[in-house]
Symmetry: C2
Subunit: 335 residues, 2 copies
């Protein structure tokens, strides 16, 4: 529907209907509606079922569980988040009777009880397993998993240490201590956290090569874009320059935003950029990085298509890194 | 030094030297070094001094306090954050002996004691007062204020409710309970929080008008871009489409990133965009918004230059909104 590049975890067909989050009666009825479904999690692994065998690498879809099957667990009031409503056409006004979708944390149940909710199901852990979901659902998964990860780690008010409780369909946590100063004014302590992080393809001063590196945690032979968390008081472009210099010693001047992608492990926002270097001497950050090198376009093409003679490769198409690298390769057909 | 547009709070001449944050000895020595200075805060207001009278609207600069003047307060171990080192030229390697800058929270002292640290000083509250700082220092302020605001609201571990203590030059908080699961692996609960938020100029389907609105909190007669916080599982472009539709009922298709700016009230990252609408019927969000209208280019020029017949205006040049609006006006000289 638009010209912007779409990344894997960004395809979310739901209308979040945030205006309904404060309407407790509506939410209670929606939870109970016949056409409502639940995406079930167990310790942040999602219940998924195998798709009929195909050629694509997307081999699973999210299981959609009905209320009648989880009623027993719902009595214990597990963390439940209103994800949104299935809207088939953005231009047709919603009736709000369309199917609703919730995420529910069934960690209180035993693993095999959760698996028994759906035939042929698995509990799919996070990265990289979740790359195997149908792309049409990857955005629903991203929303659901990052919300449940937030509730998992933020059960106490960071301002006073008291327990907090869930409100607004799971999109808010409120301190239980009515004397806490978090009740005066609007504070980010009450809202889900998203960590912006920059990821960048660095182009060499002569425009002919790009910089790829290996963090110590990478699988053998994989190279990817450099990346790092934004810090308070920075722009995206500042973060790109700082992280490239920290990790590789290379100095970057101009930065071009490419696209963004939520990365729900647990709650990053990847900001994909193309960065133009003015120096090419590499001085590796030995603490974080294992290697960083300039690669020529032909070699990068081999890595993208998994035909590199030494078996080097880059992350799969579901990662922003892949998409930025591909954009550079497309733009440099003359090399 | 680069082609990217620079916004007000993004001009930060410091090198953050993040690799020094883990080096306790180096940090301790740096705090005590003769050429080290401290930016002092009191309840998130910053100590600033008046500049000699000029014509510009930037009338204050940050006070740079010496250790000998605050030694007494330092004994109480106030929150102190290492902001970075003054690097005059990015291409000259640092010796690490260059002047260091720290932020210090003197809320434990009385207000007039803090004011007495520097002749002719004021304690400058947050927005909009901080718009009056020298632009060369606005980025230092942004880094310092958002870090202190984080320490102010996040003194307890959100995972278990225990108190947490400051580490890594103030860039990390660690749970005091050694049994807490926050000690296993790397978790965002330990790191400063930044809230990404989209702010967008919406262009009408015919390209001739743009959409500006008034939130209920705005000063009289001011109109600005629509804006809203990113939610978990969204891309920047998704947030732009959702917030525009929520606040005005207008449907947006293509979204173009313009620039970003840290907004330290308390810790937002403003992501400025230009958004292209496919519909123009306005249906106002009555809860958040007081008004939203399509404005023609000539009227927007009057608002930018404060020459509008009814006195309508847009935010000052220090705000991203101003810069995005100006970009649209520059691009549409034919209208
Ligand atoms: N929000 C965050 N989540 C996880 N790690 C963070 C965060 N902010 C800063 N860090 C630190 O950043 C390191 C990763 O480096 P980088 O991704 O290059 O910035 C981690 O090992 C942490 O020490
Ligand atoms: N991180 C956050 N900080 C403050 N308010 C938030 C945050 N996240 C969501 N909100 C909510 O967003 C509202 C402002 O609306 P908007 O800026 O249009 O998204 C606030 O009144 C809060 O209810
Ligand atoms: Mg990194
Ligand atoms: Mg980093
Ligand atoms: Mg790094
Ligand atoms: Mg808003
Ligand atoms: Mg919002
Ligand atoms: Mg809004
Ligand atoms: Zn509290
Ligand atoms: Zn803890």
């Amino acid at each position: 529907p638009d010209d912007n590049p779409r990344n894997y975890f960004s395809l979310n067909p739901l209308n979040r209907c945030s205006e309904k989050r404060k309407d407790k009666t509506w939410l209670r009825n929606k939870v109970l509606a016949d056409n409502t479904r639940f995406i079930a999690f167990h310790n942040l692994s999602v219940l998924a079922t195998k798709l009929p065998k195909g050629t694509s690498s997307q081999r699973y879809e999210l299981a959609r569980v009905e209320m009648k099957d989880i009623e027993l667990y719902m009595a214990a009031n597990p963390v439940t988040v209103f994800l949104g409503i299935e809207q088939t056409n953005r231009h047709t006004p919603l009736t709000f009777e369309e199917p609703g979708l919730f995420a529910v944390d069934l960690s209180l149940a035993e693993e095999d009880k959760v698996l028994s909710l759906m035939p042929d199901s698995i509990l799919m852990p996070g990265y990289p397993a979740a790359m195997q979901l149908r792309p049409e659902e990857a955005g629903i998964y991203a929303e659901a998993r990052s919300m449940l990860a937030w509730h998992d780690r933020y059960q106490f008010c960071p301002t006073c240490g008291s327990p907090s409780r869930l409100e607004e369909g799971g999109y808010k946590r409120v301190c239980e201590d009515m004397e806490c100063r978090s009740h005066n004014g609007v504070h980010n302590t009450c809202y889900p956290r998203t960590d912006p992080s920059a990821i960048m393809l660095v182009v060499s001063p002569d425009g002919k090569r790009c910089l790829l590196g290996r963090s110590k945690r990478f699988p053998a032979k994989m190279f990817s874009c450099l990346a790092g968390f934004m810090e308070p008081g920075e722009t995206i472009e500042d973060t790109v320059r700082r992280e490239v210099e920290e990790e590789s010693g290379v100095i970057v001047d101009r930065v071009e935003y490419h696209s963004s992608q939520p990365w729900p492990f647990p709650a990053s926002l990847m900001l994909g950029c193309i960065a133009y270097a003015t120096t090419d001497h590499i001085k590796l950050d030995e603490e974080e990085m294992e290697d960083a090198r300039w690669f020529s376009r032909p070699e990068v093409v081999q890595m993208l298509t998994r035909q590199h003679p030494q078996g080097l490769f880059v992350p799969p198409e579901q990662a922003v890194a892949h998409q930025i690298i591909k954009t550079w390769v497309r733009r440099t057909a003359n090399l």
